[in-house]
């Protein structure tokens, strides 16, 4: 089944302790759309400026991403620049320029409105709700968020939680939103705010999926060298939702697999800057790493 996906699209400058690259394709929707495209057709809703390079439009198209919902507006594309500390876990935003993003108020193309699966990648909860309100009868809605919205748009975020099926967020965001040091308590408390499922991303420690009758703990892939962690969480969430959309079914079995496929795509993406690694990623590589995840977490019952 197809997937409707919205979020930010930007041009990034990224500095790591080893290297620095400029004018990269970035934004939550870019990462999520390409990650999801390995599993299902993606209908993208977003905005870029007139300066947005044609090569990035071609990149989306190469991945079968439908751009009918992509607005090319007068002005400049959203820009972000950031720098990672030596442990690659902490990053500092050096600059942000919203540019065309300030006028992002999308109207969905008619053919997008019947989307069964929806992923609201990280962007303001107001825009996430605005997009979602235009979808006629969604079957399963997943939303990502970030600390910024917990700080400046908490009420809107809490309203969003009543309208979605699954929330994906970071460990630190879960603790902050629920004011609880225990991730287990925070995850279960979040379920009471609306979503049927909550997925907490823990970076190098993997992730946890909470549901009413479900608890799943997934490991992280044992990477020795992380070249650029930017977009790892977006790739995870995009592939997670993309896999669910591919199967068309949401149950304990598909959700577990979706978490692993999300982790697989994210683990590849951090091997290079921006979406470079995913350009050459093959289905065989995805399946092989999926099996590695199984191998590293499996144990016999008896």
């Amino acid at each position: 089944m197809s997937l409707l996906l919205t979020g930010s699209i930007g041009l990034d400058d990224v500095k790591t302790p080893q290297a620095e690259q400029h004018d990269l394709l970035g934004g939550s929707a870019s990462y999520a759309a390409v990650a999801a495209s390995f599993f299902t057709p993606v209908n993208l809703v977003g905005i870029v400026g007139e300066d947005f390079p044609k090569k990035f439009l071609d990149l989306y198209r190469k991945h079968g991403v439908n751009l009918d919902g992509l607005e090319i507006a007068t002005g400049k594309t959203f820009r972000w620049s950031g720098e990672y500390e030596s442990n690659m876990n902490n990053r500092r935003t050096l600059s942000i320029a919203l540019n065309v993003f300030e006028k992002f108020n999308p109207t969905l193309p008619a053919q997008y409105r019947s989307a069964p699966f929806v992923f609201l990648a990280n962007i303001s909860p107001q825009i996430q709700m605005h997009v979602l309100s235009q979808v006629t009868k969604p079957k399963f809605v997943v939303a990502d968020t970030m600390d910024l919205w917990i700080d400046i748009a908490k009420d809107a975020l809490l309203e969003l939680l009543t309208k979605i099926d699954c929330l994906i967020l970071n460990e630190s965001e879960a603790r902050e939103l629920m004011k609880d040091a225990s991730l287990i308590k925070a995850g279960r408390a979040l379920l009471k705010l609306g979503p049927k499922f909550v997925c907490i991303k823990k970076g190098e420690h993997g992730c946890l999926l909470f549901g009413k009758d479900l608890f799943f703990s997934a490991p992280a892939f044992p990477l020795e060298d992380i070249h650029d962690p930017t977009g790892a969480g977006d790739c995870f969430a995009g592939a997670f939702t993309g896999y669910l959309a591919k199967t068309g079914k949401v149950n304990a079995d598909t959700l577990r697999k979706a978490v692993i496929y999300g982790s697989v795509i994210a683990s590849f993406n951090v091997e290079n800057f921006s979406l470079t690694r995913l350009q050459t990623l093959t289905p065989a590589e995805i399946e092989s790493r999926y099996q590695s995840f199984r191998q590293m977490s499996h144990f016999e019952l008896h």
Copy 2:
């Protein structure tokens, strides 16, 4: 097969944000021995003072722990007191009194020397080596350690690593010992220092087992309330080694199961102060929680 086990034995005062208890049975060997006793007979090597309560000797005996190697020396038992912060992850040592520990230089009873499985619970690496040197032909030797020995006895610890089969340590200790922020790199680098296997405990994030051809990532049990984390790592390591001794075999299959059984016993132990919870723990409860670990980490291949 029987297990030879040494480490500290002490009387603890523990303060958590919720409660405070005094004169508890503590020490790495106490936790490890009782945890291991669920799987295999334990031969304990340790030292206590004349003030050591008879009820704790009875507790060991109730668990089938052989006390032929327990020295009751003139003087007072080792004492430790500590306080946990509200998140239960950080603890502060309030006081330590080595007491009889200062003269601990054990000679193993003859019948202990043929032990096939050995667990050197946390204690100085010099004592760990002194005990190990008296074992005739050990089949599998596991050692735990702590940050203190990395700080003040690093050379002895590095020598110990060349004599053991498996090292168990905390996340922060692995990073500190190998001077590497990446746990994956630290774990693999530790393998080059001697042990065939390295197990890194990550608390609420589970643990990682590294071997030459093995990588296993185990989840933590999703506990909402941790009453007293003291001894969780010792219980993990004791049950880990105890399970291996029970099977008598060390391979990828038994090592994975040993990690899970270690996690199971540790997860029970933190439900109450000291070794209180393990006093009523039944084999059926252990098996049930083992199955819960499987349930929360299992996913299908296809």
